[in-house]
Protein backbone atom coordinates (compact mmCIF):
# COMPACT_ATOMS: atom_id res chain seq x y z
CA UNK A 1 0.00 0.00 0.00
CA UNK A 2 3.02 2.32 0.14
CA UNK A 3 2.45 3.03 -3.60
CA UNK A 4 -0.71 4.95 -2.59
CA UNK A 5 1.34 6.91 -0.05
CA UNK A 6 3.88 7.85 -2.77
CA UNK A 7 1.00 8.82 -5.10
CA UNK A 8 -0.49 11.02 -2.36
CA UNK A 9 2.79 12.86 -1.89
CA UNK A 10 3.49 13.20 -5.62
CA UNK A 11 -0.09 14.33 -6.30
CA UNK A 12 0.11 17.04 -3.65
CA UNK A 13 3.46 18.31 -4.85
CA UNK A 14 2.33 18.35 -8.49
CA UNK A 15 -0.92 20.14 -7.59
CA UNK A 16 1.15 22.85 -5.92
CA UNK A 17 3.46 23.17 -8.95
CA UNK A 18 0.51 23.38 -11.38
CA UNK A 19 -1.15 25.95 -9.13
CA UNK A 20 2.07 27.99 -9.18
CA UNK A 21 2.17 27.78 -12.99
CA UNK A 22 -1.47 28.86 -13.19
CA UNK A 23 -0.81 31.82 -10.86
CA UNK A 24 2.19 32.81 -13.02
CA UNK A 25 0.03 32.79 -16.17
CA UNK A 26 -2.62 34.83 -14.34
CA UNK A 27 -0.05 37.42 -13.26
CA UNK A 28 1.32 37.63 -16.81
CA UNK A 29 -2.19 38.25 -18.11
CA UNK A 30 -3.17 40.87 -15.55
CA UNK A 31 0.20 42.58 -15.91
CA UNK A 32 -0.67 43.15 -19.60
CA UNK A 33 2.61 41.63 -20.63
CA UNK A 34 3.16 42.39 -24.29
CA UNK A 35 3.76 38.90 -25.65
CA UNK A 36 3.42 39.26 -29.41
CA UNK A 37 2.59 35.62 -30.09
CA UNK A 38 0.39 35.23 -27.00
CA UNK A 39 -2.84 37.24 -27.05
CA UNK A 40 -4.74 37.59 -23.77
CA UNK A 41 -7.43 35.01 -24.63
CA UNK A 42 -4.77 32.35 -25.28
CA UNK A 43 -3.01 33.08 -21.97
CA UNK A 44 -6.38 32.98 -20.20
CA UNK A 45 -7.18 29.63 -21.80
CA UNK A 46 -3.90 28.08 -20.58
CA UNK A 47 -4.28 29.77 -17.16
CA UNK A 48 -7.75 28.24 -16.67
CA UNK A 49 -6.65 24.83 -17.92
CA UNK A 50 -3.67 24.74 -15.52
CA UNK A 51 -6.02 25.62 -12.65
CA UNK A 52 -8.31 22.70 -13.57
CA UNK A 53 -5.31 20.37 -13.86
CA UNK A 54 -4.14 21.52 -10.41
CA UNK A 55 -7.62 20.78 -9.05
CA UNK A 56 -7.48 17.28 -10.56
CA UNK A 57 -4.20 16.55 -8.78
CA UNK A 58 -5.60 17.97 -5.50
CA UNK A 59 -8.40 15.40 -5.92
CA UNK A 60 -5.80 12.64 -6.52
CA UNK A 61 -3.90 13.84 -3.41
CA UNK A 62 -7.05 13.70 -1.26
CA UNK A 63 -8.28 10.37 -2.65
CA UNK A 64 -4.87 8.76 -2.16
CA UNK A 65 -4.69 10.01 1.44
CA UNK A 66 -8.13 8.55 2.06
CA UNK A 67 -7.07 5.16 0.67
CA UNK A 68 -3.64 5.12 2.28
CA UNK A 69 -2.96 3.17 5.45
CA UNK A 70 0.58 4.52 6.11
CA UNK A 71 -0.82 7.77 7.61
CA UNK A 72 -4.57 7.05 7.86
CA UNK A 73 -6.98 9.94 7.25
CA UNK A 74 -10.76 9.86 7.61
CA UNK A 75 -13.10 11.88 5.36
CA UNK A 76 -13.87 14.31 8.19
CA UNK A 77 -10.14 14.83 8.80
CA UNK A 78 -9.72 15.70 5.11
CA UNK A 79 -12.70 18.06 5.04
CA UNK A 80 -12.57 19.83 8.42
CA UNK A 81 -9.43 21.90 9.13
CA UNK A 82 -7.69 20.98 12.37
CA UNK A 83 -9.31 17.56 12.75
CA UNK A 84 -6.23 15.66 11.62
CA UNK A 85 -4.22 13.86 14.27
CA UNK A 86 -1.08 14.31 12.12
CA UNK A 87 0.20 17.93 12.32
CA UNK A 88 -3.32 19.47 12.58
CA UNK A 89 -2.29 23.05 11.76
CA UNK A 90 -0.12 22.11 8.79
CA UNK A 91 -2.79 19.78 7.36
CA UNK A 92 -5.43 22.42 8.12
CA UNK A 93 -3.66 24.87 5.78
CA UNK A 94 -3.95 22.29 2.99
CA UNK A 95 -7.63 21.62 3.71
CA UNK A 96 -8.44 25.35 3.66
CA UNK A 97 -6.43 25.82 0.43
CA UNK A 98 -8.25 22.95 -1.30
CA UNK A 99 -11.69 24.11 -0.19
CA UNK A 100 -10.96 27.70 -1.16
CA UNK A 101 -9.76 26.49 -4.57
CA UNK A 102 -13.02 24.57 -5.04
CA UNK A 103 -15.07 27.62 -4.03
CA UNK A 104 -13.12 29.81 -6.47
CA UNK A 105 -13.64 27.25 -9.24
CA UNK A 106 -17.40 27.50 -8.64
CA UNK A 107 -17.21 31.31 -8.70
CA UNK A 108 -15.29 31.04 -12.00
CA UNK A 109 -18.02 28.84 -13.45
CA UNK A 110 -20.65 31.49 -12.64
CA UNK A 111 -18.37 34.36 -13.58
CA UNK A 112 -20.85 35.95 -15.98
CA UNK A 113 -23.57 36.03 -13.33
CA UNK A 114 -21.33 37.78 -10.77
CA UNK A 115 -20.44 41.50 -11.06
CA UNK A 116 -16.93 41.75 -12.53
CA UNK A 117 -15.60 43.72 -9.56
CA UNK A 118 -16.82 41.07 -7.10
CA UNK A 119 -15.42 38.24 -9.22
CA UNK A 120 -12.06 40.01 -9.50
CA UNK A 121 -11.83 40.42 -5.71
CA UNK A 122 -12.76 36.79 -5.23
CA UNK A 123 -10.16 35.79 -7.81
CA UNK A 124 -7.48 37.57 -5.74
CA UNK A 125 -8.06 34.89 -3.09
CA UNK A 126 -6.10 32.55 -5.36
CA UNK A 127 -2.96 34.15 -3.88
CA UNK A 128 -4.15 32.96 -0.46
CA UNK A 129 -4.76 29.48 -1.91
CA UNK A 130 -1.23 29.43 -3.33
CA UNK A 131 0.32 30.73 -0.07
CA UNK A 132 -1.62 28.20 2.05
CA UNK A 133 -0.60 25.40 -0.31
CA UNK A 134 3.06 26.45 0.02
CA UNK A 135 2.83 26.56 3.84
CA UNK A 136 1.05 23.19 3.80
CA UNK A 137 3.73 21.63 1.60
CA UNK A 138 6.61 23.00 3.68
CA UNK A 139 5.12 22.11 7.08
CA UNK A 140 3.13 18.92 6.43
CA UNK A 141 5.11 17.38 3.58
CA UNK A 142 7.38 14.53 4.58
CA UNK A 143 9.66 15.43 1.66
CA UNK A 144 9.92 19.13 2.53
CA UNK A 145 13.44 18.80 3.89
CA UNK A 146 14.84 16.95 0.87
CA UNK A 147 16.97 18.88 -1.62
CA UNK A 148 14.73 18.21 -4.61
CA UNK A 149 11.56 19.29 -2.79
CA UNK A 150 13.19 22.45 -1.44
CA UNK A 151 14.46 23.28 -4.96
CA UNK A 152 10.92 22.92 -6.35
CA UNK A 153 9.37 25.00 -3.56
CA UNK A 154 12.01 27.76 -3.75
CA UNK A 155 11.95 27.86 -7.58
CA UNK A 156 8.16 28.10 -7.83
CA UNK A 157 7.93 30.63 -4.99
CA UNK A 158 10.63 32.74 -6.65
CA UNK A 159 8.72 32.73 -9.98
CA UNK A 160 5.38 33.64 -8.40
CA UNK A 161 6.80 36.35 -6.11
CA UNK A 162 8.87 37.92 -8.91
CA UNK A 163 5.79 38.20 -11.15
CA UNK A 164 3.69 39.38 -8.19
CA UNK A 165 6.05 42.27 -7.40
CA UNK A 166 6.30 43.09 -11.12
CA UNK A 167 2.49 43.28 -11.21
CA UNK A 168 2.35 45.42 -8.05
CA UNK A 169 4.96 47.80 -9.47
CA UNK A 170 2.88 48.18 -12.67
CA UNK A 171 -0.21 49.02 -10.61
CA UNK A 172 1.77 51.49 -8.53
CA UNK A 173 3.10 53.19 -11.69
CA UNK A 174 -0.37 53.49 -13.24
CA UNK A 175 -1.73 54.89 -9.96
CA UNK A 176 1.03 57.52 -9.88
CA UNK A 177 0.38 58.45 -13.52
CA UNK A 178 -3.37 58.87 -12.98
CA UNK A 179 -2.75 60.97 -9.84
CA UNK A 180 -0.43 63.26 -11.79
CA UNK A 181 -2.92 63.69 -14.63
CA UNK A 182 -5.78 64.73 -12.29
Amino acid sequence: MTAVWYAARAGGMLAYLLLSASVCFGLLMSGKASLKRWPKFALEDVHRFLGILAGAFVAIHGAALLLDSFVPFSLSQLLVPGMSSYRPLAVGFGVVAAELLAALAISNHYRRRIPHRVWRRLHMLNFAVWAFALIHGLTAGTDATTTWALALYVGSAWAVLTLFFYRVSLSWESMQTSERST
Partner: protein, 106 residues
Amino acid sequence: MFKDRWFPALMHASPTPPQSRIAEARRRAAGVKQTAVAAAAAGFIALILLARASHPGHHSASAGSSSASTPATSSEQQDDNGFELSPGTLGQSGGSGSGGAQTGVS
Protein backbone atom coordinates in the same frame (compact mmCIF):
# COMPACT_ATOMS: atom_id res chain seq x y z
CA MET B 1 -16.14 15.86 -26.01
CA PHE B 2 -13.18 16.65 -23.68
CA LYS B 3 -10.88 17.17 -26.65
CA ASP B 4 -13.42 19.35 -28.41
CA ARG B 5 -13.83 21.48 -25.25
CA TRP B 6 -10.18 21.96 -24.32
CA PHE B 7 -8.25 21.42 -27.55
CA PRO B 8 -10.59 22.89 -30.21
CA ALA B 9 -7.78 24.09 -32.42
CA LEU B 10 -6.37 20.57 -32.61
CA MET B 11 -9.77 19.08 -33.39
CA HIS B 12 -10.52 21.47 -36.23
CA ALA B 13 -7.00 21.85 -37.56
CA SER B 14 -6.85 22.08 -41.31
CA PRO B 15 -3.96 20.76 -43.41
CA THR B 16 -3.37 24.28 -44.76
CA PRO B 17 -1.62 26.84 -42.51
CA PRO B 18 -4.02 28.93 -40.35
CA GLN B 19 -5.06 32.19 -41.91
CA SER B 20 -5.32 34.47 -38.90
CA ARG B 21 -3.21 35.24 -35.87
CA ILE B 22 -6.16 34.25 -33.69
CA ALA B 23 -6.24 30.74 -35.15
CA GLU B 24 -2.50 30.49 -34.72
CA ALA B 25 -2.76 31.60 -31.07
CA ARG B 26 -5.56 29.06 -30.48
CA ARG B 27 -3.43 26.32 -31.95
CA ARG B 28 -0.49 27.39 -29.80
CA ALA B 29 -2.64 27.42 -26.63
CA ALA B 30 -3.97 23.94 -27.47
CA GLY B 31 -0.40 22.74 -27.98
CA VAL B 32 0.67 24.17 -24.60
CA LYS B 33 -2.31 22.48 -22.91
CA GLN B 34 -1.44 19.13 -24.44
CA THR B 35 2.18 19.60 -23.37
CA ALA B 36 0.98 20.49 -19.86
CA VAL B 37 -1.02 17.24 -19.63
CA ALA B 38 1.97 15.20 -20.85
CA ALA B 39 4.37 17.06 -18.52
CA ALA B 40 1.99 16.59 -15.57
CA ALA B 41 1.77 12.84 -16.24
CA ALA B 42 5.55 12.54 -16.58
CA GLY B 43 6.05 14.79 -13.54
CA PHE B 44 3.67 12.66 -11.49
CA ILE B 45 5.68 9.51 -12.22
CA ALA B 46 8.98 11.35 -11.59
CA LEU B 47 7.70 12.69 -8.25
CA ILE B 48 6.49 9.22 -7.23
CA LEU B 49 10.00 7.89 -7.91
CA LEU B 50 11.58 10.79 -6.00
CA ALA B 51 9.18 10.27 -3.07
CA ARG B 52 10.02 6.55 -3.12
CA ALA B 53 13.76 7.23 -3.18
CA SER B 54 13.59 9.72 -0.28
CA HIS B 55 11.27 7.53 1.81
CA PRO B 56 12.99 6.90 5.18
CA GLY B 57 12.15 3.20 5.18
CA HIS B 58 12.93 2.61 1.53
CA HIS B 59 15.76 0.22 0.75
CA SER B 60 16.95 -0.57 -2.72
CA ALA B 61 17.33 -4.03 -4.23
CA SER B 62 21.08 -3.83 -3.59
CA ALA B 63 20.40 -4.19 0.14
CA GLY B 64 20.10 -7.87 -0.52
CA SER B 65 16.65 -8.47 0.91
CA SER B 66 14.40 -10.53 -1.32
CA SER B 67 11.27 -10.21 0.79
CA ALA B 68 8.91 -7.24 0.62
CA SER B 69 9.18 -6.20 4.23
CA THR B 70 7.53 -3.16 5.82
CA PRO B 71 9.63 0.00 6.27
CA ALA B 72 9.82 -0.45 10.07
CA THR B 73 10.96 -4.06 9.76
CA SER B 74 13.65 -3.24 7.25
CA SER B 75 15.08 -0.41 9.38
CA GLU B 76 15.09 -2.68 12.41
CA GLN B 77 17.02 -5.24 10.41
CA GLN B 78 19.56 -2.63 9.34
CA ASP B 79 19.90 -1.11 12.81
CA ASP B 80 20.41 -4.48 14.48
CA ASN B 81 23.46 -5.05 12.36
CA GLY B 82 23.38 -8.75 13.15
CA PHE B 83 23.17 -8.45 16.96
CA GLU B 84 20.38 -9.86 19.05
CA LEU B 85 18.90 -6.90 20.90
CA SER B 86 16.00 -8.10 22.93
CA PRO B 87 14.01 -5.66 25.11
CA GLY B 88 15.39 -5.42 28.64
CA THR B 89 19.00 -6.31 27.93
CA LEU B 90 20.00 -2.64 27.77
CA GLY B 91 19.56 -0.67 30.96
CA GLN B 92 21.20 1.22 33.76
CA SER B 93 24.12 -0.47 35.47
CA GLY B 94 23.37 -2.15 38.75
CA GLY B 95 26.22 -0.26 40.42
CA SER B 96 28.70 -3.11 40.56
CA GLY B 97 31.31 -0.92 38.92
CA SER B 98 31.84 -3.18 36.01
CA GLY B 99 29.50 -1.67 33.40
CA GLY B 100 28.00 1.77 34.11
CA ALA B 101 29.17 4.94 32.39
CA GLN B 102 31.36 7.16 34.57
CA THR B 103 30.37 10.83 34.51
CA GLY B 104 32.34 12.11 37.45
CA VAL B 105 35.16 14.68 37.22
CA SER B 106 38.37 14.02 39.04
